[in-house]
Symmetry: C2
Subunit: 613 residues, 2 copies
């Protein structure tokens, strides 16, 4: 199998993967030896354990001196290689990651499928067990190390029966997998099933029951005996039919703390996902508003979580929609360690068929949240067994960029994209510019031809590719647009569902009046008539039509741009084939969304373009 390089051009291809090393520092030396073999200027590496993940690179007469901790040395070597290859400045002074935990959540099931995976089957599970090519896993480790990702959660947050055995009968397999990734400074995490003690004979999983706490403490001990640097547990509890503490009348804090106390003696963390809402909502009841849910559940618990609990919060209040405001929960938990969760897997953003480069989305998101409010970052993986790792080669960018933003949340999107593009394709300058521009704009194009102006959830139910404007309208998921012949959207102001009041003052003021609300989020916050005047004088309905015609046209322009670029033949074929599908997808979105609103509003397009009746 051709395992196309991620973040590594051909000079780090299959042949050049250095021999296995036993520690990150040894691995750093091996990477340096491999890359600089025969070079005039070479780095000399000095381990200074006190630097941990940090490193510094200083010029010397013969090359560079790289000083760092165990992991830091490895990161330093990768940084040096990256700078040389991408012709950028070598970072000066002490470099340290902003967040100690830079986590990749893999939704891999042990049967080999990946929930919301768009790049083939699991890289490490098949047929109910660990099953992998060690060489490929080492390549994965190198990819993660090269951008500083240091925690890999190996299994789906929706834990199925087989996966419970990861901390049971399959613990030796998990330990062997940890051994393979340890030289890359990647530690393992496991998603657990909150009810697991009951699967193993206890009559309850009540977190306040001492026998349950003792069961977990014992189990954690066993895990750490096998994997001393194990990172901890990830938990999706009381969410979408997952078991959790609410079953026993306990709070999420009580549930999380019980597990955290089991992990604390081993320095493990307990990552608790805040993705909690009523997934059996009655569409008739307009008083329930799903975006309000996580805040309502967690804000009262601020201050109650143990220090080794991390509350992992999706970036928006819904669920990885293409356009959402940031979750108000980030501002509501000052006494809680909070992690930001983004989704590299393009569940709602084109499924690695359509192009959706995420850095330009993350920049304002992190600015809105404030990097200082975060204790860690996590991303849902977009990886799979496909030769190019991510289905669409450009989807590699999102993994790459996640690592770069996790290290430096003040990263500049365009710079990261250019860096990735240069490392991956080394195109002529003008072509590189064109590719960077295309990627920088890709999210905006995608948003234009899909749900209008922050409306969300017009996607086909279940598989989530392509339009179905009313497909989620009467379901139990709390995902409504309430379009009728007069208006569309949900009033989330103080006079509506009150969602906007969950924000701190500045954001509340930004969103609460339709006259001043950012137009790309207008229909997230407001219910408006089709004749509503946008700030440029167009009506709302006309803006919807215009965006959709424009977005679809833009995909055709993207197609023409990509055709001009000199990608390697194999990538070119995948890129153009998927671009064709994106053009078709955009056309479908354009026509379905326009027709949907035309049928309700009866308003023709001002420019007389074709809207199907």
């Amino acid at each position: 199998m051709n395992t196309a390089p991620l973040c590594h051009p051909a000079w780090l291809s299959a042949e050049a993967l250095p021999a296995p090393a036993s520690t990150p520092a040894a691995n750093a030396q091996a990477e340096a030896d491999a890359f600089f073999r025969g070079a005039q200027r070479r780095p000399s590496l000095t381990l200074d354990a006190s630097l941990g993940e940090g490193y510094r690179i200083d010029p010397t007469p013969d090359g560079w001196s790289v000083t760092g901790g165990e992991a830091g040395l490895l990161y330093g070597v990768h940084a040096l290689i990256r700078a040389l290859r991408s012709k950028s400045d070598i970072p000066g002074g002490l470099q340290k990651p902003r967040y100690p935990l830079r986590m990749l959540n893999c939704w891999d099931n042990m049967d080999g499928t990946i929930e919301r995976g768009y790049a083939g089957r699991s890289l490490w599970f098949e047929g109910g067990e660990f099953s992998y090519d060690p060489e490929r896993i080492r390549r994965l480790g190198r990819m993660l190390a090269s951008v500083g990702i240091n925690v890999l959660c190996v299994n789906n947050v929706n834990v199925h029966a087989a996966a419970r055995e990861l901390i049971g009968s399959r613990l030796p397999e998990l330990a062997a997998f940890a051994d393979l990734l340890r030289p890359f400074a990647v530690r393992l995490m496991v998603s657990i099933d909150f009810s697991m003690p009951m699967q193993e004979g206890l009559p309850t999983a009540d977190p306040l029951n001492p026998a349950v706490a003792a069961w977990w403490a014992e189990r954690v001990k066993t895990v750490y005996e096998a994997i001393p640097d194990f990172a901890g547990f990830l938990v999706k509890a009381d969410s979408e039919h997952r078991p959790g503490p609410n079953t026993y009348g306990r709070t999420h804090a009580e549930g999380a703390n019980m597990l955290a106390r089991a992990l604390a003696p081993c320095s493990g963390v307990l990552v608790w996902r805040a993705f909690v809402y009523n997934c059996m909502q009655d569409w008739r009841d307009a008083s329930i508003d799903r975006p309000c849910a996580a805040y309502n559940v967690y804000q009262p618990l601020d201050g109650q979580f143990d220090p080794n609990v991390i509350l992992q919060v999706k970036y928006g209040p819904y669920d990885f929609q293409p356009e959402e405001p940031v979750s108000p929960l980030f501002f509501a938990m000052p006494r809680t360690r909070v992690a930001l969760e983004v989704q590299l897997a393009q569940e709602y953003t084109g499924q690695q068929i359509d192009i959706f480069a995420m850095p330009p989305v993350w920049r304002p998101m992190i600015d809105d949240i404030g990097a200082e409010r975060l204790a860690a970052v996590a991303a849902v993986s977009n990886l799979g067994r496909d030769a190019n790792w991510t289905g669409h080669p450009f989807a590699q960018l999102n993994l790459y960029a996640f690592g770069r933003f996790a290290w430096s949340p003040d990263a500049e999107p365009e710079r990261v994209i250019r860096e990735w593009a240069r490392l991956t394709y080394a195109l002529p300058a003008r072509q590189e510019d064109a590719l960077v521009r295309l990627l920088m704009e890709s999210h905006a194009v995608y948003r234009r031809y899909t749900s209008p102006l922050g409306l969300c959830w017009m996607v086909s139910p279940n598989h989530h590719y392509g339009p179905s404007p009313y497909g989620y309208e009467f379901m139990a998921w709390g995902t409504y647009n309430r379009a009728n012949r007069y208006a569309v959207g949900i009033d989330r102001t103080a006079g509506g569902t009150g969602y906007v009041t969950q924000y701190p003052e500045a954001l509340r003021r930004r969103y609460e009046r339709p006259e001043t609300c950012p137009e790309e989020l207008l229909l997230f916050f407001h219910r408006l008539p089709y004749g509503w005047r946008m700030r440029d004088g167009r009506t709302l309905i006309q803006r919807i039509y215009d965006d959709h015609f424009l977005g679809a046209e833009e995909t055709e322009a993207m197609r023409r741009t990509l055709e001009e670029l000199d990608f390697p033949a194999e990538d070119r074929q995948v890129i153009l084939e998927r671009m064709d599908r994106q053009v078709e997808d955009a056309r479908e979105w354009r026509d379905v969304v326009n027709t949907f609103f035309f049928r309700f509003s009866g308003e023709p397009d001002a420019d007389g373009r074709k809207i199907y009746p």
Copy 2:
């Protein structure tokens, strides 16, 4: 496992299943011996092979003389028992089935699942092979024999890889299964994959290629050597991505005849499903109309099919919707043997949760078609491994009634329903009346609270339970209602898609004008504004609201009725639990459909009832 009796009350329960017999006639004797053991009046059985499936029952001083062919004797004994148990007249004179083939199509997959199955897993497949309780299969055989069903197609018309082996490596298993059912006068049929020769090494499956024809002839010979009374093949070709002759530029007649000629020397039949349409339709293209498809494909082929080909046509032009006009194809193929296909599996009619008794639907359907136009009848099975065979005990009625209608297409719905009710529950007279009334009305209630007035396809995509009025609207299946703020429906008159012109004059006249079209099919044939005046003066929109409020209310009345009836405890629990779900389903349909049309039309309910905004 409790295998509740179908069409057989407790006196034919597990203990009384007679010992295995080797022939239908011997089986008839065994059934008679078991039932009349110790009785004063007993039947004496006389085999007259010339009578085939026919029989006659004459009174004698000691009981009755039953004379019949091999199968006829068995049918005669069941008829006698049925008459005695249901206190009805014993049929006088020679009794013969109207159609020689009374076929049950089972959509069982070899992995044990059943496509559109609502009664548990397959009765005979599991884990890729035959796997069954022989006793249960004999019980199944008796059930089928008791109502005269004589062909069982064992596998899904969507043939997956494993099922190809039924006429390959698993032929001995198939033969053993045939042996088990032979004493019940049930012959086997198999759904085949048209491309099978290619799976086994031929470069083509072109029906005009002599090597392909020779391959099939050889394979058929092998099958008949193992199973001399094998019934034949069932084929779904060039439909919903199934392979077929169109791949090679051949017609369906050419495809079918090739297979028929392979079967003819062994007296096998080739059943070819006419369920062919464009399943990659573009919703934008209003010139394509799925109900037109089968007629367009097959009508020109009339006269071209070999005599042992049977064209199996679904009752309506769409796909088993709760309310459809009969397919125009029944009138367009006078020189072709045509079978009617109904679906006992309640895919679109409540999934054996909601009650939908089919005899009152079949009566006008058969009258419209004319029983004389049919050469055979087929039904998609509603059976599964559930203890009560059909999930909902009342769903047994539909299988029972299918057998009775297949034998006598002029059967009276109420009489068949009463017969089944009496055989199954033996309730006091007033309760029996109440149950019969409820079942007689059940289809009308279901139709009232689901898609309005023949509109079809407002069901949730994929699983097909519950409402989603726009869920299929922009998909590729040709399933549109085209509702907008002014009107709803598709104009299928001569001025519209022209579908109505496929009918013979009388039916065309019935349907072509909205003023005279039966109102329950009004929106199948016509596109009408919400203000359209129904014949009683109500507006169309008000009629939609009224039907939905009424239908939901009626389910609550059904609930009250069923609570009063003395069902056996086990059935009672299932019946009431499912009735609760039906009440909830009807409420959901009522509110979703009413809200959908209210949002488009803006028209409030004239009676001020609650329509959610």
